[in-house]
Symmetry: C2
Subunit: 274 residues, 2 copies
Amino acid sequence: MATSLVDYSRLCLHTITTKPWSLAQCIEGYTKAGVPGITIWRMHLDPQGAKESGKMLRDSGLTVVSLARGGFFPATTAAERRQAIDDNKRAIEEAAEIGAPLVVLVCGAVPGMPLAEARRQIADGIGSCIPDAEAAGVKLSIEPLHPMYADTRSAVNTLRQANDMLSEIGSPTVGVTVDVYHVWWDPELDREIQRAGERILSFHISDWRVPTRDMLNDRTLMGEGCINIREIRGWVESTGFEGFNEVEIFSHEWWATDQAQFVEKIKKAYLEYS
Amino acid sequence: MATSLVDYSRLCLHTITTKPWSLAQCIEGYTKAGVPGITIWRMHLDPQGAKESGKMLRDSGLTVVSLARGGFFPATTAAERRQAIDDNKRAIEEAAEIGAPLVVLVCGAVPGMPLAEARRQIADGIGSCIPDAEAAGVKLSIEPLHPMYADTRSAVNTLRQANDMLSEIGSPTVGVTVDVYHVWWDPELDREIQRAGERILSFHISDWRVPTRDMLNDRTLMGEGCINIREIRGWVESTGFEGFNEVEIFSHEWWATDQAQFVEKIKKAYLEYS
């Protein structure tokens, strides 16, 4: 079990956690709240572009932890697969422009495509992006997604599978992201975290609401659900991981509230339950 | 890949698939439709009791494939755990009374209880029921449930884990149920089905709707979703499995329709997509 967190030095928020806010509002809100880390969702780059966003972020003094998200490699036509790879290469460029050391990959899935085929296309797609990532000094991180997203979002659904894929790809430019929401149920989690070891590039936290009312947008504050967040953080830290604890909450309910107050609630939950 | 199904000789319906029907209506409806197998949910025994239900079923000539469901072993107090074991022993008695050769186990989970603890309680609970099951000539079948049910319904979430549990329990009275809805996403499914081998006691089919609008009651007809049902059936049959293909669809949408017409749609989907 990890020891309690006593300060906010490793707290990072994903901009989608405060989705109603623009990038400028996220920067202002996080800074005011004393949150030092920020993971940028591409939707928050779009209005002003990556270059201007990079300037805003450098001026802010916030640490840019990662860019979310690349991936979505599988497709039914060769043209679509090329488009996906091109889009990932753009994400790598954007990451470099905003100073993000890694792009998190939601690997993709296509309903009806055999999962084995989707998995081959994912490994191939990542492989195609490695030279660009190396040149840009940006890492790529495979985030295994919960099996309930195997239909449309990701054919990579366990950490074991992501680790196997890393072995297959065999590049130090590619690692994994451990998100407690996706992996908490896995009876092999402890072992596979140890196996991933220093290839763990980032760590995401939130909680699983009971009952969950929406499969996508009903995550909640740490401590309000049933995930053993602190235990998992302990496993991750036992590998030597010293990175940020990134709070990534998709929630219609929380998005409808005052976002500055929500950030304060996150801070409280972070110390008490993460 | 399994060969196409050409007749209904191995078709079984779960009574919950036609939930609006009473047991008498299920018996009449399945018989009229030429469906030879029936898996009984305990809610369909309750109104008339197991003894009278057994008589109705013997008179019908239908094959009773299994009783659903036992399980729900984990609990926070010793008294509740004993109650759960007693309830499973009653389910074993009921199975014997209706001529069901097995009780399917939805193993249970308690939000906030460490999954490792829940898993220990499940193995212990099953172990406590084995003597009764042996005496009654009834098998117990662990059904791994989709990881999205790890909060409240089952801490057994992959076939690998169920196989490991079988090895731990080490009794020929306990086997596993493969339900495509729960396991289709698993990258190790083929291998773990081979590993389960003759310990596969039953096989459930339905389909994963895209998008799924309700985590519990939005399954659909074979062919309407994204599960590779025929491929999985092929893997299961390659182990020597010759049992029924049990259609288990929980669906608010389908339950709201005419159930006799629904059974005909199931028959059509069964031959075309299973």
